[in-house]
């Protein structure tokens, strides 16, 4: 009985092995596999694989003509599976992507970091095959193999040519206006209520004998909003020095702290009061967002500054700071280019510089030719955007009726392939 049992188990294992071998053999020889009920779809045709253009490398684009049974014929294609191998003969074990029916291309790309998941080394040959998939995972049709193909980076991104021309024009405008400003031409900048209020706010702080709190937010020194804020701090610090009021500048970023220290020190020297400058007026707190907020809120409640000035890059802490400022009874002036945070400053502050007004404020206060010239160039760029948008709308809506067919695709002139 025991021998019989052993024999029976041996037969079962043997039969399974034979069947698996047969299946494996059939699968390897014939890409199209049939099971009952579903017939293999027609394979994709005209399969090509090329290096993805206008990129830094590590990307190959695979294109094909869909299966004849994709939305037509037997209508049994559910999607496509893109397979990759290092040799023409295979094995194609590496599934690099699965795309839905109707797809005609797939971009096989990876991070530039060697060792990253799915990393595609440049200048290494690969071969691709695309399988037309059906509802049964065993029923699919494989295409011809294409390759070899390898990825490589390009020096220039041709998709950014429109941006190149825009930058050239904008730079020319900036140079033109800066040189005009340097030659003494008066460049008008409209008054900004928030900036006009700064002097009054500093005067109020002096009368009340309370300090002024200046907050840069969570930006870093290279943020444009922070750079604009440096100019405003310079003006504020100079006025503070003249009025002999106290200034508190708690910083989130150590680099900003060092720059701010230089700015405040220079402002005190310009105001003729270098001895009044206190090194600890500008100090670092921490780089944790909400710990920083907790500390600044604590300063507001304990020092009771007469004026809080928030200029720079702000995130979720904007409302927490501004709300605490309201509670402590301070006049508040804010400015940021973070669109999502402006509403909070609008509701909680007395004056708010909206977006680009922050950059204009630095030019308005600094009156430096470089800032004024670039502000003027920006205005011209905005005018150009306005005119082009209006022309584009006219072109899209009416050029067909007027027979100006070359204008129909006016919109495409501004399309950037990044």
């Amino acid at each position: 009985m025991k021998n019989l049992f052993n024999m029976s188990r041996f037969k079962i294992v043997f039969t399974v092995c034979v069947l698996l071998s047969l299946y494996s053999f059939v699968n390897a020889q014939a890409p199209a596999v049939t099971t009952v009920g579903i017939t293999p779809p027609a394979p994709v045709t005209e399969l090509t694989a090329v290096d993805t253009d206008n990129d830094h490398g590590h990307s190959i684009t695979v294109k094909w003509t869909p299966s004849a049974d994709d939305g037509a014929g037997a209508n049994n294609v559910l999607g496509y599976r893109v397979m990759r191998s290092n040799s023409f003969e295979g094995p194609f074990n590496d599934t690099v992507g699965v795309v839905p029916l109707g797809s005609t291309n797939f971009e096989n790309s990876s991070s530039i970091e060697e060792g990253a998941e799915g990393f595609i080394p440049d200048n290494t040959d690969f071969y691709y095959r695309v399988d037309a998939l059906t509802g049964d995972s065993l029923v699919f049709s494989s295409s011809e193999v294409t390759g070899p193909v390898h990825s490589y980076g390009q020096w220039f991104n041709k998709g950014l040519i429109p941006v190149f021309f825009a930058v050239i024009i904008f730079t020319a405008l900036t140079v033109l206006f800066v040189s005009a400003a340097r030659k003494g031409k008066e460049l008008y900048v409209r008054p900004l209520a928030g900036i006009e209020a700064v002097d009054d706010a500093i005067g109020r702080a002096t009368e009340m004998g309370r300090p002024i709190l200046y907050v840069f937010g969570l930006g870093v020194a290279s943020d444009i909003a922070t750079i604009a804020s440096f100019t405003i701090l310079s003006r504020v610090a100079k006025r503070v020095a003249e009025y002999q009021t106290n200034l508190i500048v708690p910083c989130y970023d150590p680099i900003i702290m060092t720059v701010a220290q230089d700015i405040v020190k220079t402002a005190y020297m310009d105001a003729g009061r270098p001895n009044d400058y206190k090194e600890d007026a500008v100090f670092f707190i921490t780089q944790a967002q909400f710990a920083y907020v907790g500390a600044v809120n604590g300063i507001m409640i304990r020092e009771l500054p007469a004026t809080n000035i928030y200029m720079g890059k702000f995130y979720a802490e904007s409302l927490m700071l501004a709300e605490t400022g309201v509670v402590s009874g301070s006049i508040q002036i804010a400015g940021t280019d973070e669109i999502a945070q402006i509403p909070f400053f609008v509701v909680a502050c007395d004056y708010t510089l909206i977006g680009e007004e922050l950059f204009a404020a630095s030019a308005y206060l600094g009156r430096e030719p470089l800032l004024l010239g670039s502000l003027k160039a920006q205005d011209y760029a905005k005018a150009a955007v306005l005119v082009l948008a209006l022309l584009g709308i006219l072109a899209v809506n009416f050029s067909g009726d007027l027979g100006l067919t070359w204008l129909v695709n006016f919109k495409d002139w501004f399309k950037v392939i990044d």
């Binding site: 825009a166 409209r190 780089q287 710990a291 509403p343 680009e356 209006l390 899209v396």
Partner: protein, 213 residues
């Protein structure tokens, strides 16, 4: 250990909430802990991520060292010259490099997002039509509103022209558009803040007190 963590979290949460009543010693202590721990944490993180992992392992001890990392290290060392008043001006060089390089890198992105994409998105069929060729009035009205909003919004952000007359009227319409947008954004963000509060309450009442599942 988990219980200790939950209790610490709950006590610190309540200590921070106590600020809603008024500033108090418990809040001050909690604030000091938060600042101290975070400052210490980030000091260690930056040291290990930047100096040890990136520079030491990548440029000094690596089999194929990335020599360009020495450039960053030199700039970092130059920044430390601030500690010596006589040569503290040298610290401005790495700063100038950071600001200049970042401005150059961002320039293209700014042009793409703030100029090119804006123009491309604004150019659209003002008169929207359905499949049968009939005019979709609601969609057309929406497109027109966006168009007016873009034009008047841009007018508001002109700084070299005084906001007077017809131009001033356009700019005023622009600021109305901006305020309506900010109002919508405000409401949306307040809702997300409410979800944060709910999360904290869930922690206090669920994880800590076990009153809710």
């Amino acid at each position: 250990m988990e219980t200790v963590g939950i209790w610490c979290g709950a006590i610190l949460t309540l200590a921070i909430f106590s600020f809603l009543y008024k500033d108090n010693p418990v809040y001050k202590a909690c604030e000091a802990i938060f600042i101290g721990v975070s400052a210490g944490y980030y000091a260690i993180v930056y040291f290990f991520d930047s100096i040890y992992k990136k520079f030491w392992l990548g440029a000094v001890t690596a089999d194929q060292p990335e020599e360009w990392l020495f450039g960053g290290a030199i700039l970092g060392v130059l920044f430390l010259t601030r500690l010596f008043p006589k040569i503290s001006w040298v610290a401005r060089w790495p700063l100038a490099f950071i600001v200049g390089a970042t401005a150059g890198l961002y320039m293209v992105n700014y042009f793409v997002t703030n100029a090119m994409n804006q123009v491309a998105s604004t150019i659209t069929d003002v008169i929207a039509r359905g499949d049968a060729g009939d005019i979709n009035w609601i969609q057309s009205f929406g497109t027109l509103v966006i168009l007016v909003g873009v034009i008047t919004g841009l007018m508001y952000f002109f700084f070299s022209k005084e906001h007077k007359g017809a131009f001033g009227g356009g700019a005023k319409v622009g600021i109305w558009f901006l305020m309506v947008t900010f109002g919508a954004s405000f409401g949306y963000t307040v809702m997300s803040r409410m979800s944060l509060l709910i999360g904290r309450m869930d922690f206090l009442l669920g994880d800590w007190l076990g009153l809710i599942n």
